[in-house]
């Protein structure tokens, strides 16, 4: 919305309210700048992307920031994919993590997220709703129940907790204040060479990491940033 003259000096009330929302940094400077400091507390934020798009490493980076700062974290794991070793290597303080494994049931995961959000005392809740791969082998419904989102939004509102949802595609709808779409752009195979064109090189290299792009589809501001994720 373009504003000029007097309206440039006067901010709408909705923007004033937004500025007072505390945020939890992701640990990625460029992304935190775009998110005005990080993921907002008391709101639902969604991080969506296909496998190997960097969504989990972004969430783990945020978890590391939170647990290092002394916050307790809850990881609601719908499909039991959480790797404690990767978490520890990412800097997450495991004694501060409550891991709930939901055996593939979105209903149970939604209920668990609701319970923890209402109990309070956790600085960050992560609901990992992304199936193991793009052709999921599921035991329950294919995606989280739609009624769960508004109930969760109500539960988290006004709290000091961040609720991060990991998914293949955005599914929280308008219940999410921030939606990040993750896209993979490069795979780093050795220090000297990055394989951009998959057709051109078919010889082994050392897997060094990923370059992914985080695009804000909903949030205070729009934009995209590139992030490197390296071993």
């Amino acid at each position: 919305m373009r504003r000029g003259g007097l309206s440039q000096a006067v901010k709408p009330a909705s923007e004033l309210l937004e500025e007072r929302v505390e945020r939890l940094p992701t640990g990625l400077e460029t992304l935190d700048q775009l998110l005005a400091g990080g993921f907002p507390k008391g709101k639902i934020s969604e991080v969506a992307g296909v496998p190997s798009s960097g969504k989990t490493s972004l969430v783990f980076s945020t978890l590391a920031q939170a647990t290092v700062a002394g916050e307790n974290a809850a990881y609601i794991d719908t499909f039991n994919v959480f790797d404690p070793l990767s978490a520890a290597q990412s800097g997450i303080s495991l004694p501060r993590v409550l891991w709930i494994r939901c055996s593939g049931s979105h209903e149970k995961a939604a209920a668990a997220a609701d319970m923890i959000a209402r109990a309070g005392g956790f600085g960050i809740l992560v609901w990992d709703a992304a199936p193991p791969d793009e052709q999921p082998r599921q035991t329950g419904s294919e995606k989280p129940p739609s009624h769960a989102w508004f109930r969760l939004k109500q539960a988290i509102e006004g709290s000091q907790s961040v609720l991060l949802v990991l998914s293949l595609k955005p599914s929280a709808g308008s219940a999410a204040s921030v939606v990040l779409n993750m896209n993979r752009t490069k795979i780093l195979w050795n220090p000297e060479q990055s394989v951009e064109n998959r057709e051109s090189l078919r010889r082994p290299g050392l897997f060094k990491g990923l370059v992914f792009e985080a695009e804000i589809q909903r949030g205070k501001s729009r934009g995209r940033v590139r992030v490197h994720s390296r071993f």
Partner: protein, 404 residues
Amino acid sequence: MAASEFIAVFSRDLPSLLELAQTLTPRVEISPPDALVLEVTPRSRAGILDKLRKFSSSLQVGGGGTRSVALIAARMSPGAWVPQGKEPEFLAPLPVASLKLLDDNPQLPEFLITFSRWGIHSLGELAALPEKELTARLGQPAARLQRLARGEDLKPFQAELPGHRFEAAVDLEYGLDSLEPLSFILAGLLDPLCAELQSSNLATDSVELELKLESGEVSRRKLQLAFPLSHSKTILALTRLELQSQTEKARITGALIRLNPVPPRIWQHSLFEPLAPAPEKLARTLGRLGALVGKENVGCPVLLDTRRPDAFRLGPFAPAKTRSTASMQEANRPVLRRFRPPFPARIRPEQTVNWVGPWRTSGEWWAGTAWDHDEWDVEFVNGTIYRVFFDQKRRGWFLEGVYD
């Protein structure tokens, strides 16, 4: 007020003696390894001595105005009673080695040798030495020994707290077959138990429940709490969740609750750290989560000390004050999303773009958890990178997880 007196008792069966002594007086101190000291009044002394003699005729009993003289009297002159003020007179002729009954200082044998060289053989001779010169030559430990030789007590009396069982039971006039009335009964048992815990500055880390059934059987359950609690409503809520998970086959005709007393956990909040969840609320939430997904699926991940892939256990979640030492450089690295169990795979070369490996890993061949894998990182045509392994034991390919 009458001055206290002390009775010392030596016995080979100290636990039984302690149980008796605590019924005679609340002021009982254990003097290791095999003695008790009871603090009594002149009026109660005779009755207590009589009961001790009736307990066992082989007890060595002595008494006096201080603990030290009572212990020496009981061992060196059983049956002796040293009136107040007569301690130096009683102790004077006794050998210096008697101090072994009173002082467990490891340097005592050296002091005894020194005293012997000086010609000091009795407690009276030691007590008569000039105090300042003795301290100047042998230090404060020797001064302590001199005070003991005079019959003085060096430390305050420390009474042993009587062991107490926090349990309550009820027999019902009619059998119960539903949870609601049983909860009401359990609440009536728990409230006074928890009040007693709190007044003793204690909490409980477990709840043992014994339910008598109409069939004559007794159903026993033990609920281990994530951390010590003393709030009766929270403990009742957790007990209800436990009872809901397994219903009884017959009607319940009686109930017993037993709480294990432990020191309470101190929850000290810092002004500079984020607020932790309230203990009672956290305990209830953990209980409800356990009821929802199964207790075995809720907890804190703990890495095991092994190189075996995906080796961890779920421990109890108790918010810690530990801080991560990871630096920013360690953050934001590719993480693995695991497939549990690993997916069997048939990999065709045309599906792959790039790969690296193998890394051979194996171990625990001496245990049932042996593994022998060749691991690869493989990029597939759809742009996804998987960790793939060939299992040498099962002779097959598996997808261990996807890097994300």
